[in-house]
Amino acid sequence: MIPGLADIPFFPEEAGNSAPQVDAIYWALVGISTLMTVGLFVVITCFLIRYRHTSEANRTMLRLSPTYLEVTWSTIPMIIFTGLFVWGAVVFVKANRPARNATPIYVVGQQWYWDVRHQNGRHEIGDLHVPVGQPVQLIMTSADVIHDYYIPAFRQKYDVVPGKYTSLSFTATKPGKYRILCSQYCGTDHSLMTGYLFAMRPDAYQRWLQAKDGTGTESMAETGAQLFRTFSCSGCHGENTGVHAPSLAGIYGNSVPLQGGQFVTADDQYLRDSILRASAQVVAGYKPIMPSYQGQISEEQAMQIIAYIKSLSQPPAPAASLPVPNSSTP
């Protein structure tokens, strides 16, 4: 029952592109902190011994203004801290910026499991399969309360917030099985909202992706196209309809003029809001007549409809082969 010392983990393994960078800063901080703590401890101990009440050490000192000393011991930490701030900020920004060719994977957190959908329709609960060496972007939202997607081996986490999309970007660097944890308290079974991330070699990942295991034979965009009709979106936004509604072809990624003169980029977040809370951002020149689908269209379905709308913006050839994600990098 009691593990040997060798079995006790003292440091988490590194398996993601950001992990070595975060660990480098961590060790720098450990070094600086240890140096300061030990230094202070030694100085204090020396004073305590030398100037203990029974000692007759010389206690005469020069009458000096403390200002020079105060400025020195404020400035030196300030310089070190500025360096640490910049280093930490650079790594953080880099870690959170998705690569241009990142494979999107869609995650919906709910009490108390992760619902994960790959573009080709492969669906998994709790776990996550990703290819090694290829950048991945998780596009995440919550169906209820705030959760947090945390992969300790990657040194990365990000909150999963209801009402908005957040993202977690990484590249797995080492094949293996790593823990996924929820690290934002979310209720009774918060500590059971865990799973495993399987980092697989790209060919194995492709095989896994295609196997589908009966979890869905259609891609997200295909399911989205069906939902687009089921919820009667096509009645207004489809081609050749009599209703005055903005066309969705080619909208993804473009700038959209809003009533009131603002412009907004039609990204995932904008499309989600427009589906679920249509009246929040009305396109210039249109009447706010679209009903709210909040409570009728689930977060998963919204993601599928968005995948469909995205597919409308892509050139015809790749759109046909959409289910297979880009696997050009080995």
Binding site: D7, P9, F10, F11, P12, S18, Y26, L29, S33, M36, T37, I44, F47, Y51, R52, H53, N58, R59, T60, M61, L62, L64, P66, L69, E70, W73, S74, P77, F81, L84, F85, W87, G88, A89, V91, F92, V93, D144, V145, I146, D148, Y150, Q156, K157, Y158, D159, V161, P162, G163, T166, L181, C182, S183, Y185, C186, G187, T188, H190, S191, L192
Partner: protein, 553 residues
Amino acid sequence: MSSASTTIEPSPTGPPPERHPVTPDYLNDGYGLRSWLTTHDHKRIGVLYLLSITVFFFIGGWAATMMRLQLLSPHGDLVTSETYNRLFTLHGVTMVWFFLIPSVPTVLGNFVLPMMIGARDVAFPRLNLLSWYIFVLGGIFTLYATISGGVDTGWTFYTPYSTTYANGHVIAMASGIFITGFSTIFTALNFIVTTHTMRAPGMHWFRLPLFVWSLYATSLIMVLATPVIAITLALIALERFAGVGIFDPRIGGDPLLFQHLFWFYSHPAVYIMILPGMGVVSEMITCFSRKRIFGYKFVAYSSLAIAVLGFIVWGHHMFVASQSIYAGMIFSMLSFLVSIPSAIKVFNWTATLYKGRIHFHTPMLYALGFIGLFTIGGLTGLFLATLAVDMHVHDTYFVIAHFHYIMVGGMVMAYLGGLHFWWPKISGRMYNEKLAQFSAAIIFVGFNLTFFPQFILGYLGMPRRYPYYPPQWQVFHILSTAGASVLAVGYLLPLCYLTWSFFFGRHAPPNPWHASGLEWNETSSPPIRTNFEKLPIVTREAYDYPYPIQKDA
């Protein structure tokens, strides 16, 4: 009896006290429950607070004990998840609002602040008593919420969980905190006005003991920040009861708004908790070194700097909460900045030891323990201020360990140190010095054994608020629980020997530590109802100790 001193002269500002052959001390100035529950005496109100926060400390400590026992096993064999969630909520709420925030200000501050500045009482004695009653009322609400089933939101009450999904008596618990906030505000108002208007003749601002400076800075934060938490809790009630969409996105709210409001209060609240402790440590370090504090003005102004900067770093709780990355950068930079005034204090305390004549009485042991633990707590705060590292350790045991090093390693050490320091004044008795030194050592060892393993756990990735966890991490949890049991012994010992000494201890002389300061040199132990036989006139600088012996360069 007050010692004969040349600095005592009839005060021009108040009538001379009525002369009795022997003026009874404040403990004997009226007996019975009624004389205590209707008292306007700042010292008696301090004692009332002492008794009530001790109760809450042990309630919160009991909850922590249950959690540590649960975590002995990765499978959580003791209580269910639901119960565990209620336990950590109870622990957080009672420790933050009913122990840490009131601890030093309402007990030690109430007791010594008027004496330190040479006043007979605080500016508004009735308001002072009212603040205690409000505190008790808030406490009753919280205990009601606990006894009737508890709350499972955590002390942070994050939305939309707390407004929509939480089970239990969220509103009752929130009401308790809401009500107690007024008690905090009243105490703070009292301290601010007292410090401005009731200083003895000659007691100008730079003759004030540093404890008064730190209480003043704390009071500013209390008055400015506490209304924000009151508003926030009221908005939670509004959403939970009336369904007004404020925080829940399904009805048009924004969950991030709650976090901004909550941390806009709760980060300054962290400084409400630690600043008074820093003041206590300044008093003890200089007294037991028999040396004037090094860099008086820097230490005094650093308290104000912390109070101001503490208001603009709240966003460092939200680096991965989906706040803008640019906001994250600004808050990260400011968080590094706020560490500087704290570092200044630590360096000045260290420099104060240089060429002093150092005595190792119990309060000094606590003060030295404070410096060590606060330094570790502060330096690990830098890890969390660093954006990239926070991405990994946010919401893990690393954070738990960090803030317990500040709150327990720092504040509780300072509070216990201060309690031992002023105990001769409070009780008029001396405690058993050897036993007290022994329990200070036990607390130091137990504390480190409890919380140091949690840094390692945190970097391994152990999230907070987990009753179940991966079995590889068990060894660190066992160490932590072992430490907690040592810590529990360390906290129970002072409860026993201080209580014993209150009734049976040796009578204390007016100034057992040979400290400077009006509360030591101008009052008896325990002091009379009006503190001073004659109001003092201050002619000397603060910390007028024999060392250092200075010569001109």
